[in-house]
């Protein structure tokens, strides 16, 4: 092994979960044998799914998965913020409210009444919101889900004492680097790649299919041009709205793009 550049005291790390599918925590649990290496380099203080339960101890870094959707969530995230030096939101739920934020444009109370025969017992806010809607977030890692390599890149940056890299470029750039054929130009597929944040490695185009925006909006997007392109490909206004209203429906750029198509 190379000379350790890490301080002799291991950084203390917590992994917290809010409303989610658990898939971003799997970026840790799916590390394979590297999970044991990670456990040597950092101290996993709190990570309920992995068995470590200690939400009150001060930590250096708190990774937070999931969206805020109950009154208790609001209290818990404030507690977490007060007990960590750095808070990193991981995944679409934590950064945009996630797929469950599709309910934000609907009547949540009515939904609860339709689903549960004891609706009074269900504690649920009208909206599902990202972590940054309530507390200061030091770094956001977008993606549904985030990958193990993204997580390791962040952890390694922190161990080396540098700020994590924020790649807000577009999926198109990753497609070009992989020398993939453009699915929109060649096959007329309504691909979200031109407005979607990089980080996945252009997985969907590599399978010959459309990107569906699961990494959220990229920087400097031109959603008007993409909506016009979708119209030219024959998509109905409703289908165009649904392109922007999926995994990251409440990300401001996607929400604005959808609303613009609706009011057109």
């Amino acid at each position: 092994m190379s000379t350790p550049t890490v301080h002799s005291i291991k950084p203390r790390v917590a992994v917290h979960k809010f409303s989610s599918c658990d898939g971003c925590q799997l970026a840790f649990l799916n590390l394979g044998e590297e999970l044991l290496v990670l456990a040597e380099r950092v101290e996993l203080v709190h990570f309920a799914e992995a068995g470590a339960l200690d939400p009150d101890t001060e930590v250096d870094v708190a990774f937070v998965e999931g969206s805020l959707s109950t009154p208790e969530d609001i209290e818990r995230i404030q507690h977490i913020r007060q007990h960590c030096r750095m808070l990193i939101a991981i995944g679409a739920c934590a950064t945009s409210g996630g797929i469950q934020a599709l309910r934000n444009s609907a009547n949540g109370a009515e939904w609860v009444a339709q689903i549960y025969s004891h609706p009074d017992a269900i504690s649920s806010l009208e909206r599902s919101t990202p972590i940054a809607s309530q507390v200061k977030v030091d770094f956001e890692l977008w993606g549904c889900p985030v990958s193990s390599s993204q997580i390791l890149a962040v952890v390694n940056s922190l161990l080396l004492g540098v700020a994590p890299h924020d790649n807000a470029d577009k999926v198109c750039t990753e497609c070009k680097r992989r020398n993939l054929t453009c699915v929109m130009v060649s096959h007329g597929v309504a691909c979200m790649g031109p407005v979607t944040r990089a980080g996945c490695g252009a997985l969907c185009p590599s399978m010959g299919r459309d990107c569906y925006g699961c990494y959220g909006p990229a920087e400097n997007t031109n959603t008007d041009a993409l909506a016009a392109q979708f119209r030219a490909l024959g998509l109905t206004p409703q289908a165009i709205v649904q392109r922007f209203q999926s995994i990251n429906s409440q990300a401001p750029v996607f929400l604005a793009a959808a609303n613009k198509v609706k009011t057109r």
């Binding site: 999970l35 004891h118 409703q238």
Partner: protein
């Protein structure tokens, strides 16, 4: 004895090493259990509601988000339901590869559960990290098997969490022959590791805790049922997926955001042990031999055998993937065209944690009118509470609090409850003004 008269109040506010957020409340007064609740408080996510209005083309990508640990189960079940409604016959390649893809998820999910969630309890450890200090080779072997399951899923889905490969009508993309050759070598190399895993799992001493319950699983004429089959029960029911909701009911308890399922007004078991109980005669010969060596007699009434059942199913999944990838050819097309039509679609498969049932009402444009999804964990929830009650009585309520708490947690983990899956599911027939 005064010890008999004590009041015990055990409250586990956050259950660790389960997927999602749940809690346990246990109260014992005068030597009797007066309260026992597995409380699921994972916030509801309303999946079935927001699927409404979305196109069939989006459904596999959307329902995957119900669960990060078993997304393939959701995708495959939805696709199967919609293909049946649309009258789509998968080509033989796609039919076989759906099963291979699903095997990847069983391998990944089962190995994660055995090593990261369940096994630490039996060695007095709090986590896999601690377990790795006393059983490093076994843990590393488990993590390697888990990684191989992920790799198999990535082959067909580009990533293992919310893979992007399934479409209604087949797959978006077929892996190249060179990729299949490479994975075949790895699968073959993993066989002895999986066999050793079965021996290890079966060697872990577990409580003798036999209980009466009905097992429910899918059953297929020739295969160990995973991605297709009838629904059968250990008391003789044998039905098509369409008939599920005439025999199985769901209801809501006020303390939980998950719905409880019953069969003939009683709790029932789904998952690896139920499957093994009902389908062990469909295992490949080599897997049968290994199973016989463990001394495990089937059907088993002891849920603590679930750990070994998962290990057996890992070996089965490796064998199945190898068998189906033998003589692999890249197909002319990985999918067949689909024409949507209005109607009701039902689908059923065996998720790693048990039976998963979907029902979609679709309009003529192929958009969802309403949806209903019954995941394995809500089906097992009633059984878990029944098991806890019986198991605690079997253990003895006079045990120290810590022993009672640990035992309860072990019982719960036998079911590998996935609380993320269990919440936010609904009975759409209940409409209020």
């Amino acid at each position: 004895m005064t010890e008999q008269k004590r009041t015990v109040s055990i409250h586990v506010p956050v259950l660790t090493r389960v997927e999602g957020e749940g809690a346990l409340d246990l109260r014992i007064e005068n030597g009797e259990i007066v309260e026992l609740r597995l409380r699921i408080f994972e916030p509801p996510r309303f999946f079935e509601k927001f699927l409404e209005g979305h196109s069939y083309t989006e459904i596999p990508d959307m329902v995957a988000r119900i669960c990060g640990i078993c997304p393939v189960a959701y995708q495959a079940t939805a696709a199967q339901a919609l293909e049946k409604l649309f009258g789509v016959e998968l080509n033989p390649w796609a039919q076989a590869m759906r099963r291979v893809f699903y095997c990847g998820e069983w391998i990944q999910s089962h190995s994660l559960h055995i090593h990261l969630l369940a096994a630490p309890d039996f060695f007095g450890c709090n986590s896999v990290i601690e377990l790795a200090r006393i059983a490093p080779d076994e843990v590393r072997r488990g993590l390697r098997i888990q990684a191989l399951g992920n790799e198999l899923m990535e082959l067909f889905g580009a990533r293992s969490v919310h893979p992007v490969g399934i479409r209604v009508g087949g797959f978006h993309h077929a892996p190249a022959l060179s990729q299949i050759s490479a994975i075949r070598d790895k699968l073959r190399a993993a066989l002895p590791e999986a066999e050793a895993l079965i021996r290890w799992a079966a060697s872990i001493p577990v409580p003798q805790d036999n209980q009466a319950f009905v097992s429910v699983a899918m059953h297929h004429a020739s295969d160990y049922a995973i991605e297709r089959g009838q629904i059968v029960t250990s008391d003789g029911l044998n039905i098509e997926a369409d008939a599920f909701d005439t025999h199985f009911a769901e209801h809501h308890e006020p303390f939980s955001t998950a719905l409880f399922s019953t069969y003939q007004q009683q709790p029932y078991l789904v998952g690896p042990l139920a499957r093994l109980n009902l389908n062990h005669d469909r295992l490949p010969e080599r897997v049968k031999t290994l199973l016989a060596e463990t001394g495990l007699t089937l059907p088993s009434r002891n849920l603590f055998h679930s750990l070994t059942a998962r290990a057996v199913e890992i070996l089965l999944a490796l064998h199945e993937a190898l068998r189906l990838l033998e003589g692999y050819r890249v197909p002319d097309t990985p999918w067949v065209p689909v024409t949507p039509r209005a109607g009701v679609a039902t689908g059923c498969t065996e998720a790693p944690r048990g039976l998963l049932w979907h029902r979609y009402e679709m309009d003529a444009d192929g958009c969802v009118v309403n949806a209903r999804i019954v995941p394995p964990t809500s089906q097992n929830q009633g059984r878990i509470e029944e098991d806890l009650r019986l198991s605690l009585l079997n253990l003895g309520l006079d045990q120290p609090d810590d022993a009672l708490r640990l035992h309860c947690e072990q019982v719960i983990r036998n079911y590998d409850p996935c609380i993320s899956c269990a919440t936010h599911f609904l009975r759409m027939k209940v409409e209020r003004g």
